[in-house]
Structures are given as C-alpha cells and as structure tokens.
Amino acid sequence: MEEICQGPCLNKWKHRIGIAKNDLDEELIRACQAGDREAFRALYDRFKRKVYSLALYMTGDAELAKDLTQEIFVKVFRDIRMFRFESKFSSWLYRLSTNTCLNALRTRRSLREVGIDEVIGTSAEISANDSPEDREMRSSIRQAVGRAILTLTPPLRAVVVLRYIEGLSYGDIAEALSCSEGTVASRLSRAHRLLERQLRSWHPLPLREDA
C-alpha cells in the first residue's frame, strides 16, 4: 500500500497522508461504516490498483477485470458495516476479491485471454527513459509471464498473484483463501514447477541442468 490516495482523492482525506497506514485504514473504514461518501471514494482510491490488478491477472481479461473491480467494491461498500476489525481490512478485502474472481472464472467460460497482453504492452510502468529495444524486451517478458500465469489452474494462479504481485504474506494468503500456510507453500512450489519450462527462455542466467 505504497500510495495512500491516488487520482481524485478527496481533500478531506488528502491532508491525512502523514497518519500511519493502519490508523488511516481504521479511520477510513469507520467513516465508510458511518456512510461518509467521501470516505468511500478515498477507500476506493486507496485499494483500486490492488483489486483491479488481482482481477486482471486472475482473468487475463481487462474488460472483465473492470467489471469484477466494480462488483468487488459494490460488495465491499454494501458489507463494510459487517467488518468488525477482528482481522486486517486488507485480508478481508482480498478474501472477498479472490472469491469473486474465482467465482467468475467458474461461471464465465469465454475470456479474452489476450486482454492482458494489451494492458501490459501499454503499461506506463515501463520507464520512458528506456531505449525502444529495452522497452520492447521488458514488455515482451511481462506479457510472457502474464500469459504463463494464466496457464495455471485458478487456485495456483491465486497464490502466485497474491504472493508475488500483490505482495501478501503466507499468513494473509492463507486467510484470503481459507487454507493453511502449508497449502500456500505447496501450491507455490507446484506453480513454480509448472511454469519453469515456459519461463526458462526468459531467464537471464545460464541455468545448470545437472551437475
């Protein structure tokens, strides 16, 4: 959560960026629970990239990811009064988000699997100072990695995205997926084994196959 409020974050919350993140989260959530519309928007701004990216990497479809982001935030704002601060808000949000994505993958069979290529290819994250060749190479690598992740089954995909892209701890992933940390570890290992061959050509180091 490196950014507090991005985009048109509202003045009421903008000046509070200096507050510790957890305190601000709690303050924001309590304001949302009290029906503060500005707090809703601030909460959306705070978590929108995380939620949208999770949906995008899980589905590989930019349009569906947008729809799921909307669905997830509508659910968040509908149910936020039920949040009792017994767990981290981010864990609660990720659980809701992951379940929504997994449900969508179960029920929607036709996905635009090339959608993620388009999004990654136009990503502003690639530095403008890079040479065109570097930009092309980096974009290609990212597209290949994104496509490789999509070849995993949804449960394996979820742990990879939550761990390496969203940056959750094993404990938070276990909470989000309602499984044990051991299961998270074994799923990650399995995902690595499955992706090894697909990603080998993008490894920058010469790898030793055998001693």
Binding site: R37, T69, R142, G146, Y164, I165, S186, L188, L199, D210
Partner: protein, 288 residues
C-alpha cells in the same frame, strides 16, 4: 531432510524466507549437497523476480462512475445507527438479538394459546353461548312433543346438571338462585357450563302448567341470537332486548356484572315485570 522429494514442496517457501529457522537450516544443508535441488531453487528465485516485476495497473477511469451509480441506486450510504461490534444486537442495547427473537416467539405462542384457550371470552360464535341454536332446540322439542305450555325447557348442550351448592362453589361471578319465582315457579334443575375458566349457569323452573329458564352469564361473554331480530324493551325497571322464536321468547338484561337471559313460552309482560323485579331484589341482596 535427506531426499529431494522431501524438500521440493518447500523450496518456494525457502526462497521466500517463510520457513522456521530449523527447517530452513535443514533445507540449506540439503541444497549444499544437491546440485539438482540447488538449480531448482535458483530457477524459483528467477521466476520470483519475473513475477515481482509485473506491474500493478490503474482501473479505467469510468470504473468508479459505475460503482457510485450502483451505490446510489442501492442507497447503502445511510449512516449506520449501531456500532459495528453491535451489529447483531437489538435496539434494546445489550440484549442479543437472538434472545429478543426467542422472547418474541414465546410471547406469540402464549398469545396464540390464550386466544385458543379463552376464545369464548372474545366471541359469541361458540356453540355453548349460541342461544339462537338453543331457541331452535326448544322449538324442535315443542314441535315434537305437543303442547308447549307443559313442556319443560331442555338442558342446554354443554351444560351439566349439578347441585346448587356445587354450582355456587365454582361460579366466579355473581348469580341469583331463588328457589321460587313469582307465578308459582320453583327451581327444578340447575345446569352448569364449565370449560376452562368459563362458567355459565342455567336454572330451569316449573309451576305445573308451564316452565321457564334463566341463563346467567358473566358480563364479558357475549350471548348470541344469530340473525334473529331483537327489540328494545323495558321490563322490571331494566332495559331489555327481547328476541322471539316460534315457541319461545327471550329477555336479555344485565344486573351488575351478570347478564341474564330469561326464557318463557309466551310473552307475558306483567309476569316478566314481576320476575325481573324479583331477580333484581335477590341480586341486591347477593354479596359481591
């Protein structure tokens, strides 16, 4: 952990530094001696770098517009009235909602039971107080047995014959039980209705030439004459409702807390005056 298959499922966690120190030491020891697992761990590390280089993305600008529109339509912004920790508590504050629901169910059940048990108090359609049916019964008996003057009144359905003492012992409203009445009538039978807490009394009198009967009913029970027309009248100094059938006339009046229905074969205003006056006199002497 001496064998590769024992650590292969733990390598990702090892590379993430997510293992307990003792397990991490055992795996590190294995990796020092196993080139294959070491290479595998290196590939995991490289893959991890590739994954971690994937960027996060901004959702399209129009995403919020839809959310805002959807929320406005559902109107979830109404301020919560209860603190979040008390969502499952009732408006009574500290009383859990489940307890309130349980109490409400019990109260409802008791109310239903009470209505069923004491419905006689609430309506006049029960047969026990359906005096229209009793008048029909009287007419039927008279028609079947000939001269109406000589016929006794039948016992009302649901009433049982008891002694006067037994009846008085269980009645919970004021009654009058004169042994004799003007016109030479003397008490011939005492019938008691008793169901739950409801009591009613039927006294039957005879004088050798004819008969009359007197129902005594608590004030909170409504006797019904069905669709029969009722006329206002005044007899014995009290306001009466007079109802007729083919072979009977009934005067309904109230003395204190008790309703009376006096039934005679034929309308005799003079006799009725005297009878009601006598009943009033006896009632006046009756202890409350």
């Amino acid at each position: 952990m001496r064998f590769c298959f024992q650590i292969v499922g733990r390598l990702a966690a090892y590379c993430d530094g997510a293992l307990r120190p003792e397990e991490e030491l055992r795996i590190a020891e294995h990796l020092r001696s196993c080139v294959r697992c070491r290479a595998h761990a290196e590939r995991i590390g490289v893959n991890t770098d590739l994954f971690q280089n994937l960027p996060l993305f901004e959702p399209p600008d129009r995403t919020w517009n839809f959310i805002e529109e959807e929320l406005s339509r559902r109107d979830p912004f109404e301020p919560a009235k209860l603190p979040v920790g008390d969502q499952r508590r009732s408006t009574f504050g500290l009383i859990p909602r489940r307890l309130v629901i349980a109490v409400a169910v019990v109260v409802f059940a008791v109310a239903v039971f009470a209505v069923a048990r004491y419905s006689l108090r609430l309506g006049a359609q029960r047969w026990e107080l359906n005096l229209a049916s009793y008048l029909d019964l009287v007419d039927t008996v008279v028609a079947a047995t000939g001269d109406p003057k000589e016929n006794d009144f039948p016992a009302a359905p649901g009433f049982s014959e008891v002694t006067l003492a037994d009846a008085k012992a269980v009645l919970d409203f004021p009654v009058v039980t004169p042994e004799s009445l003007p016109g030479g009538y003397s008490l011939a039978a005492v019938q008691l209705y008793r169901r739950g807490d409801i009591r009613a009394l039927q006294l039957r009198y005879q004088n050798g030439e004819g008969a009359l009967c007197l129902f005594q009913i608590p004030a909170n029970v409504e006797p019904s004459f069905g669709n029969r027309e009722s006329e206002e009248d005044k007899a014995g100094g009290v306001q009466c409702h007079r109802t007729r059938s083919q072979h009977c006339v009934a005067y309904r009046f109230v003395l204190g807390q008790t309703q009376y229905v006096l039934m005679m074969r034929e309308a005799d205003l003079a006799l009725t005056d005297r009878l009601i006056q006598e009943l009033r006199a006896v009632y006046g002497k009756t202890p409350a």
